[in-house]
């Protein structure tokens, strides 16, 4: 089946893409860029660099922009998916949704309206097991945003590895943090992985942090051979 993946460059969309590539043909990566930094549906930091990951995977990217207002955002997503159906002949959409009923139900409705299959291959996955799987399978993922207590400045730009996963597991028990950031606690960006033919090198980035909210914004990056 020809599939389009809703693609932000964060770990969930990249891992969902990997799973889709194992069973079906991923023919495009659909990236919606929101002008609203507090977008309801779309991962915003560094999404402008998702094109590098798409190029490294070797699948065309369909870019679509939205003003990021709650309901207009949905109709923009619908238009983006409709454009992917028309341009790439997709028969289904893949998302990286894990727990968010809000996000999953809205994408399901769009797919029903457009007569497309909808796949959520990370749906209800155990979040700690999922992070371990990411690392085991060779994904290099960094934290590009933190938005919850008690995540301090050291998390911004940190690489997801075994030590970080253990720490997230402990924060889950103590503070109810979702280890994979499903509650909006964390945002991530993928630098390398088994489906990337090249890796992403960040040449310049800036960091902001205040009151348990921080961001690493990529300012210059390139693809390098592995």
């Amino acid at each position: 089946m020809f599939l389009g993946v809703l693609f932000s460059g964060g770990k969930d969309s990249v891992f969902a893409c990997r799973r889709a590539m194992e069973t079906d043909s991923v023919v495009c990566l659909i990236t919606v860029i929101s002008e609203n930094p507090d977008s309801y549906m779309f991962h915003t930091p560094n999404v402008r660099w998702a094109h590098l990951i798409a190029e490294a995977i070797g699948v065309p990217q369909l870019l679509w922009s939205t003003r990021g207002e709650e309901e207009a955002e949905l109709s923009d997503l619908r238009d983006a998916v409709a454009a992917a159906k028309k341009s790439y002949g997709i028969e289904g959409v893949v998302t990286g949704a894990i727990e968010s009923v809000y996000q999953a139900a809205r994408v399901q409705r769009i797919c029903r309206e457009l007569d497309l299959w909808c796949y959520n291959p990370l749906w209800q996955i155990d979040q700690v097991e999922y992070l371990r799987l990411l690392v085991e399978e060779g994904f290099e993922v960094i934290v590009t945003g933190v938005f919850a207590y008690p995540l301090d400045e050291s998390w911004v730009g940190a690489k997801i590895d075994d030590r970080l996963i253990r720490e997230l597991e402990s924060l889950q028990k103590r503070y109810g943090i979702n280890p994979s950031g499903e509650g909006g606690e964390l945002e991530t960006f993928v630098l390398d992985g088994p489906i990337l033919k090249k890796r992403i090198e960040i040449l310049r980035a800036s960091k902001t942090y205040e009151n348990y909210r921080g961001r690493l914004t990529i300012e210059e990056a390139r693809l390098v051979d592995k």
Binding site: L3, A20, D24, R112, W117
Partner: protein, 184 residues
């Protein structure tokens, strides 16, 4: 041994992660032994040896099960616990002479439990995640457990522990699958 049956249109499809693995994960956490099988590969021996069976849901566009009810005739004689989720409930309804009717619903909605059962407990209200294009009519020999005529949320065979629920317990209602495992 609990048999978890994948009803998706083909074995090892991308949908298995979404509709089968979350059920397997709940069963695994309870320590119960289980086996996952695609419906097209089920053998009479596996059915006979199981202590209970879960029929999982499928994606909205997946309607293969509606065309292949003949593969599920064994349910008529099954006398151990059976939990049929969404598409699984549609299969059970069809096997026992009920109808599969258009009734699209997506998202979280309140569910009224009308009748006390070992699976859903006493009457009351819960919130459940729905993802279906079709609902069912109540087959003869079944009791309405939750919802109402024309919008059946759950039913139970009047003489055997065969349950159908149209919503997805793997989302926010994992306790239902855990209670099912205690029925045996």
């Amino acid at each position: 041994m609990i048999l978890i049956v994948d009803l998706c249109h083909k074995a090892e499809s991308l949908s298995k992660y979404e509709f089968v693995d979350p059920i397997a994960s709940i069963v695994r956490r309870t320590g119960s032994e289980f086996k996952v099988r695609h419906f097209s590969e089920l053998t009479a021996k596996e059915i006979e040896r199981s202590d209970g069976i879960v029929l999982c849901g499928t994606p909205l566009k997946d309607d293969l099960r509606a065309r292949r009810i003949e593969l599920f005739i064994w349910i008529r004689d099954f006398d151990r616990p059976l939990l049929a989720i969404c598409a699984g409930m549609q299969v059970v309804a069809a096997v026992f002479g009920g109808e599969i009717v258009p009734q699209p619903k997506i998202g979280l909605e309140r569910i009224e439990i009308l009748k006390e059962t070992d699976l859903l407990g006493p009457p009351g209200e819960i919130e459940g995640y729905h993802l279906h294009n079709f609902g069912v009519t109540l087959p003869s020999g079944f009791d309405l457990v939750a919802g109402r005529a024309g919008q059946i949320e759950a039913f139970k065979h009047s003489g055997r522990p065969i349950y159908g629920i149209i919503f997805h317990p793997e989302v926010r209602n994992k306790w239902i699958v855990e209670r099912f495992l205690d029925l045996g």
